[in-house]
């Protein structure tokens, strides 16, 4: 008799204060995604359009924290995922969005929505539906415990593949020269 099929691992992914570049890079694993689909099934992710993360084995976070909603989503992932991975520069150290950190938030909002040349009667959006921006942009490990990090802007498809396959094989992920990049 055939052995029962191994249950698939559940993986959730999301993009917080990122540009989706890391997710695009994830897709650069190309046809290896078919191999991956034999081993995992996706919970919340841009691929499934599931809105909330359920209990998962691996959660992958792109992007840092720039608003209150980012923090809620991150906490939901941490509460549901056995292993949490920070994917890409923004999740790892704040990245591009954190380049606003030396400027005051009111000044930025004023400049973007009000003062800049060409904005006639501009006003700062205040719809209660909009998540409130944080004073500073933070990397995710400053708010929850993160188990593994894949640096890079974005990390290459090969780097993401290496970490995932290491984890799926029960190995400690290791990148090494050529795969570890901060740029």
């Amino acid at each position: 008799m055939n052995a029962p099929a191994k249950p698939k691992l559940k993986v959730a992914t999301t993009s917080l204060a990122g540009c989706f570049g890391c997710h695009m890079s994830f897709l650069d694993i190309d046809e290896r995604i078919l191999e991956l689909m034999k081993l995992v099934e996706f919970d919340r992710s841009p691929i499934t359009d599931i809105k909330h993360c359920g209990p998962c084995d691996i959660g992958i976070i792109e992007g840092g924290l720039c608003n209150a909603e980012n923090v809620h989503v991150l906490r939901e992932f941490r509460a549901n995922c056995k292993i949490l991975i920070a994917m890409g520069a923004c999740a790892v150290n704040g990245g591009l969005p954190a380049q606003r950190n030396h400027l005051s938030l009111p000044l930025i909002l004023e400049e973007v929505y009000h003062a800049q040349h060409g904005l006639v009667d501009g006003f700062i959006p205040n719809d209660p539906e909009l998540p409130l921006p944080l004073d500073k942009v933070h990397p995710i490990h400053e708010v929850v415990k993160v188990d593994y990090f894949i640096p890079g802007c974005p990390p290459s498809g090969d780097a993401i593949w290496k970490v995932l396959t290491d984890l799926l094989a029960g190995r400690e992920p290791e990148l090494g020269h050529g795969l570890i990049h901060y740029d």
Binding site: N93, G95, L96, Q99, H141, H177
Partner: protein
């Protein structure tokens, strides 16, 4: 080989000349010990502590410790590499190191050393300090966000160029690099692109204007090979 003029580094015999430091002898013999403030062309500064090794069981900076006969030196061991990684993480969070937009990326010793030591995250909370750049000079830019206070520009300007354009000021966490001009601006000094100081920064602070990204990211020095396999040009073949 005579016991007199050699020591062992991680079990390998390394010859040295009288007066050489551990790192000088190691580099000359083609071995890599992580370092940031040491540059074989300058007097050692002994400040970053990346080069710390165990010499006869005691931790010491290998850029200032002279080699001794029969010394047993350990460098590439987990205990030291773990501590080096923490030093790197502190350097990263103290400044603003946004590598994707840094002209030095791929040629940067801080970044390459962090790759070498598998630094996967900054670990600590980011300081996100506010350090305005100095773009006053016609040809050169100073981006203080990336300064690691190695003092190589200070040493080059003082000891080679005879100019004293740069200095380290303040203490502890308040240490920072200053430019010796009343205005504090590089344009108001006699700094020039032909100065040694214009070419020694191991990170992306002292940058020539208008040549940025002429070599694409991904095709730079430490993209091709790790820093441990890239000897300093002045040491190659020594």
């Amino acid at each position: 080989m005579s016991q007199d003029k050699s020591f062992t580094l991680d079990g390998k015999t390394v010859p040295y000349q009288e007066g050489q430091t551990i790192i000088q002898a190691a580099m000359a013999a083609g071995h890599y010990i992580p370092h940031l403030c040491f540059n074989p062309e300058f007097k050692p500064h002994g400040s970053c502590k990346l080069c710390t090794v165990k010499a006869n069981g005691r931790q010491t900076a290998s850029c200032t410790q002279q080699a001794q006969p029969g010394m047993v030196v350990e460098s590439d061991i987990n205990e030291l590499n773990d501590e080096r990684r923490v030093l790197l993480q502190m350097l990263f969070v103290e400044g603003n190191h946004f590598c994707p937009s840094c002209e030095k990326s791929g040629n940067c010793q801080l970044q390459a050393t962090a790759y070498e030591l598998d630094m996967m995250s900054p670990h600590f909370d980011q300081f996100f300090p506010d350090r305005p750049v100095d773009a006053s000079h016609a040809e050169y830019l100073l981006d203080f966000n990336r300064c690691i206070l190695c003092s190589l520009c200070v040493r080059a300007s003082r000891d080679v160029d005879g100019k004293n354009v740069f200095a380290l000021s303040g203490r502890g966490i308040k240490s920072h690099l200053i430019v010796n001009a009343k205005s504090g601006h590089l344009a108001d000094t006699d700094f020039s692109g032909s100065d040694k100081a214009a070419h020694v920064c191991p990170v992306g602070v002292i940058l020539k204007k208008r040549v940025g990204f002429s070599v694409p990211i991904g095709q730079r020095t430490f993209d091709a090979q790790p820093i441990s396999a890239t000897p300093h040009p002045k040491v190659k073949g020594a």
